[in-house]
Amino acid sequence: MFTELGLLTEFFSLLAALYAIVALVLGERNKNEALVQSGRNAALLNFGLLAFSSGMLMIDIILQRYEVRYVWSVTSPDMPMFFRLTALWGSQAGSLLFWSVLMSGFSAGAVWLNWKTHRRLMPYATAYMMAVVAFFVAISVFLENPFSRWWYVPNSDEDMVSAVFRPENSYPANDLSVAEFLSRFSASQQGFVTIPLEIAPIDAQFPVQGVFLAARDLNPELMIPSSVLMTAQALPEMVAIGDLEDQSTLVPLSVLADGTTIRASDLPPTARLAPVLLDPNMRLDLVRGSAMGLNPLLRHFGMAIHPPMLYLGFVGFIVPFAFAMAALASGDLSTNWIKASRRWTLFAWLTLGLGLILGGRWAYDVLGWGGYWGWDPVENAAFLPWLIGTAFIHSVMIQEKRGMLKTWNMFLAVGTFSAVIFGTFATRSGLIESVHSFARSGIGFPMFAFWVTVTAISVWLILWRRRRGELRDEHQFTNLLSREALFVLNNFIFVALFIAIFWGSFGAPIVSEIFMDTNITLGKEYFLPVVTPLFIALYILMGIAPLSAWGATSLKRLGISLVIPLVLTAITMVLFIPLSTYEDGVLNILALFGYGIVLFGGWVAVYETYRGAMARISAHGESLPVAFITLMRRNPRRYGGYMIHIGITVIGIGVIGSTIFQDETTQTLSAGESFIIQNYEVRYDGLEEGQVTQDGRIMDIANLTVFRNGQEIAQLRPRRDFFPNVDEGMNSMTIAGSHSTLENDFYVLLVSWETITENSATFKVYINPLVNLVWWGGLILIAGTVFSFFPKETLPARIRQRAKQADELILKGVSA
């Protein structure tokens, strides 16, 4: 019921999107207002239908409808509700639907908020957004349908088929009788029967004569005679029945005497029974018991927020893209498209940044390698749109202020979204493999074609308008030290970072594979030397650009305004000397200068804000907090931006500290023993084995006591989680125990342990200096971005004029 409704609404949402495109474009071209309105409503309806459809999938997940293949593949009966909810985006099919609904949500939001204010752009913008939504919904409906169900097909090559509609001669896999189940086997009783994988995944190819069922597929209340139970010696927890080929490898389950019965729910879930001996009318559920459950790595709180944030960021860039395209299509090439999409861009930028930070946090907490960024292609694929998006956010300011770089901004809007589609394509098609990527699937070519089409159409439109001379700049660059020139440099560096990271993650490995037949991986040895100088340049620009003026800045004037931030930087650098020193007393000069450059960018932001507040104090006699607040409220965008700069500085400090000064050691200890790293002492107190939790994971927890300079500072419990029902390779998870302070993280992993011959365990300890500043910087960045959303507080012109005069008077007085 819910499945059918979800399927139907998803399909209708596709029709609505297609109708919206046609109606909006035709309506706008023929000036048919009714048609445009109808297209607009179709776009809103599209969101409603998609939201309803994903709601249906959610209900299927909550109600544990395992006949739905997606539900079966991402949840299992023992999963707690919280992770059940996050399973909506736990795998390809669901996350595509989720992605579509978010995208449609952005589109509906833009229609809702911008229709009246940007009437000329909206029909085309909406049509563009609907085109993108339609593509993703089409992929979801036709290639990765989340509502596809399991069907049991007797007398076919495969026993279980997942299909949207019921195949011929099939039975619903969650509800069929024993007789229907057996109908498959009548012809092949003499030969070897391979146990259907979904029914008996434990030793699927164990040669058995006859058929058997897993106990978990039965009604749990069923009473089963012990005569139908047997167990395999090789797998003593398993009970099997039937005429097994090699009797010597099988023994009856000894605890059961002949003639007794046992409740199905009391059997091990992998126990086997001969359905021939069961009531032929008994109903079977062949899917519930074999449901796979969410990939354990995704069962983490960070995973509940990280993907939605990342997706919000990704899909959010559709709005500036659509507005840019609408501007090109409609010919309204003023800054309207930028004004209309400014907040949407900021929101997308914020959520993408948040998604990246949370992804780093998730990796740090769950992947167990002591770091948060591994230059993995999937991480980089998410970072690439952020880089172009950041360039875009800066660059549009030039267009708004000076009417310059119109073509360039178009390219950036297109580039950001193209990077989003590329990242989606690269991580979802199996083009690159990584811990984060989705499994290989058939959506590769459609995604690729879509990426090429979107990019080609956009570039063609830009070049066409440019050739017509409609993207001409209103000002020219006059001075290399003008703010616009510095912003161009900033853009250049962001693009250079984009190119360097794109090349390292995708370009070089793919070129080398295609032309040299060699697989290569570029790791930190490539990325660090390339991106470090670029980031240094970026931090320097972050320091200089806010001090420059639009139009032109004299070198002298720039020099004067640099004095105080530079002095502040020099002072703080002295404080950073201890942080730039290894424990053997060697000073890392480069790290110290790194801190200095990063700090400089932050100090300028602080100083500029301070200078603004001071000007207000002298002009209006306001107290510092009042002046500060008024200033910020007068131009939230500017001071929010400075706050973001401060956040970036804090992140930079954290990155330098945790990258250059990370210390690690691996030690094996017997219970009661301890070892020393730096001035820490770690004592192993013992192991708590086999702690079973509600969601079925088995935890082995080590107890450690950490001392610093002889003082106990923490009790840590690093652990290893084991998921018995999950496929090998992803069935365990190493959760660090960590003692976090602003100074560092004392991060311990439980690598292995031995409790039989000797009571010992191996630990890997990382000391990650300043790593928490990465997260704190992230919070500042979020606060700054949220702040810059606030509308500008506008004062009546008369008051503004008076205030300005007062400012001037007082400033003259002060400086005299």
Binding site: G368, W369, E400, A508, I520, G612, N635
Partner: protein
């Protein structure tokens, strides 16, 4: 808020200064190779069969085998570079962070810089073109002073107000 930042920084400085110094152990040829030494080599290599997972943090049995091999090599007195070369010979350039093959190495490392250099040339030539047009415009158009500072003192305020206007 920047004051608290300073306080935090000062605190960090003080705490950082307190970090004790630890003597490095004397190299001892008969000493068995420690896990740390193995991981130091493995850290800069990738697991040959699982893409993009560093060998020191990879948790599979195969990786444990390879780390054990590194330990054996170290015990035989091979240097880190020799071990890397041996792994590359056997598993290809994918096991190291930057390919050892000279051509691939150059291709990987130099390309971004070439692109950056081209970009820089484009940016600066654009600046020059703009400057030339500016000169041209100034010569032909009536003088339009770009900055009109009433006085040096209120330049900052003018600029601030200008910016605040948005």
């Amino acid at each position: 808020m920047w004051r608290s930042l300073i306080i935090i920084m000062i605190l960090m400085g003080i705490v950082g200064a307190g970090v004790a110094q630890e003597a490095t152990p004397e190299p001892n040829p008969t000493r068995p190779v420690t896990v740390d030494e193995v991981n130091k080599v493995a850290k800069d290599m990738f697991c040959p069969v699982c893409e993009n997972i560093p060998l020191d943090t990879c948790g599979t049995a195969a990786c444990a085998d390879w780390r054990n091999e590194i330990r054996l090599f170290l015990e035989q007195g091979m240097t880190e570079e020799e071990i890397r070369t041996d792994f590359v010979r056997r598993f290809g350039d994918r096991v190291v962070g930057v390919p050892q093959d000279p051509f691939l190495n150059a291709l990987s490392v130099i390309t971004p810089w070439v692109l950056v250099a081209i970009g820089l040339v484009v940016v600066f030539s654009s600046f020059r073109t703009w400057a030339r047009y500016k000169a041209h415009a100034v010569a032909n158009a009536p003088e339009t002073p770009t900055v009109t500072p009433a006085s040096k003192q209120n330049q900052f305020l003018d600029q601030l107000e200008e910016d605040l206007k948005g």
